[in-house]
């Protein structure tokens, strides 16, 4: 089993193999990012504010281009509040004006009040640039793994360890 470690050529090939897998995943992510024009084209739902449409752990596919029409009321968007780096998935309920200067207000379907309280101090509305994508596709539950990993950090170490071991010890 550990014969691979005795053979430096094979060990090097396997480390390369591991690197290749990682870089392929990274390239696919970044490629999707370019196609959708979104810094984060796939997001995992972290809160229940859009229930019953989205539960925690559901996977959302985003699209951030306006080919045919502008981002409009009724679309579910992922946005970042000014100065904070927590993406929020909510629905646009008001839009005043058009273009880059349009003022947008969002609300979670499951929340009673709109998002004015969530925005930064002095920020009453969102602009188009605060939005990192509109939800177009939905896959349930698949993203729950990432929630588990971020809530139980030891699982991350264990999983990385197992993945590394399997790749290094695997023979072609």
């Amino acid at each position: 089993m550990l014969s691979a470690l005795g053979n430096p050529r094979q060990a090097a090939a396997q480390i390369m193999n591991f690197g290749l897998i990682l870089s392929t995943a990274f390239m696919m992510w970044k490629g999707l990012s370019v196609i959708t024009d979104s810094p984060s084209p796939i997001v995992v739902v972290l809160s229940g504010s859009m229930e019953p449409a989205f539960q925690r752990g559901d996977l959302l596919l985003l699209w951030n281009r306006n080919f045919l029409e502008e981002t409009a009321v009724g679309e579910i968007v992922v946005y970042n509040v000014q100065g904070k780096d927590i993406p929020i998935v909510h629905r646009i309920v008001r839009k005043f004006g058009t273009g880059d200067k349009a003022k947008l207000l969002t609300k979670g379907d499951n929340n009673n009040a709109d998002d004015t309280e969530l925005y930064a101090a002095g920020q009453d509305y969102l602009n188009r640039k605060d939005i990192i994508g509109s939800v177009v596709g939905y896959i349930p539950f698949v993203g729950y793994v990432t929630i588990m990993l971020s809530e139980h950090p030891w699982m991350k170490t264990v999983m990385l360890g197992i993945m590394g071991l399997v790749v290094v010890l695997q023979r072609e």
Binding site: E51, A53, G74, V93, K95, Y125
Partner: protein, 229 residues
């Protein structure tokens, strides 16, 4: 150990492939079921504008208050892959400065769950019982898509960042929907017919004008008599 790890890996890989292929077929099946949503009636029944402010220290703002009647049939949107249909009515009006600048605001919305997602929604015990009884033995309950509302009270007042909404002309009410699938693509109402999915017709009301600001005591009287439907 070596071969059992590989076996486990292969089994998991096969499982995910099968799961994704099945999910893809389920989501594609949406395109095979016809959608024929109709709106028979959508009109405002009572309009008023009152002064108010969102917080104690905020400047005074005008709020547009709209009641409406609706008769719509969205039952064809419910298929085996429908998790919920989000129905919303917007008020839309042009901006004062330029005609192509538009304002849109949701005045009323409703989450219609499919029987398969009732357990996820925030229903009261009575409503839940009622829904359960109506949908017993039915994985799909099209009757939920039939909406008949008379003189329905708004859920959200309309405002404008300028604070002014009184006497606004050319306002229309529009009904929209968003179909949330169990897996696949989210879809909205269409302007054009696309394959088996028909365009939503009659979803826009006639143009109307909001009245001038109502005096305070008058406004109080009417808000008291309003009841939440």
């Amino acid at each position: 150990m070596y071969s059992s790890v590989v076996r486990l890996q292969n089994t998991f890989g096969f499982f995910t492939t099968v799961a994704f292929v099945v999910a893809a077929f389920v989501s594609l099946s949406d395109f095979l079921s016809p959608r024929t949503p109709t709106v028979n009636l959508l009109k405002p029944t009572s309009l008023q504008v009152v002064n108010g402010r969102p917080h104690y220290y905020s400047p005074v703002q005008q709020y547009g208050i709209i009641k409406f009647s609706l008769d719509a049939d969205l039952s064809s949107l419910f298929t085996w892959n429908t998790k919920q249909v989000f129905v919303y009515i917007t008020a839309e009006w042009p901006s004062l400065d330029s005609q192509n600048n538009t304002n849109q605001a949701v005045i009323w919305d409703k989450i219609i769950t499919a029987p398969s997602s009732d357990h996820l929604a925030k229903y009261g015990p009575i409503e839940r019982k009622k829904l359960k009884k109506a949908a017993v033995g039915k994985p799909i309950d099209p009757s939920r898509g039939k909406l008949v509302l008379k003189n329905q009270r708004y859920k959200y007042q309309i405002t404008h960042p300028s604070g002014k909404i009184a006497s606004q002309e050319d306002i229309v009410l529009k009904l929209h929907y968003n179909v949330q699938p169990w897996v696949g693509l989210l879809t909205w109402n269409q302007e054009q017919t696309w394959g088996k999915w028909e365009a939503l017709k009659g979803a826009t009301s006639k143009k109307f004008k909001l009245p001038a600001v109502k005096k305070k005591d008058e406004g109080k009287k009417t808000t008291k008599s309003n009841s939440r439907a």
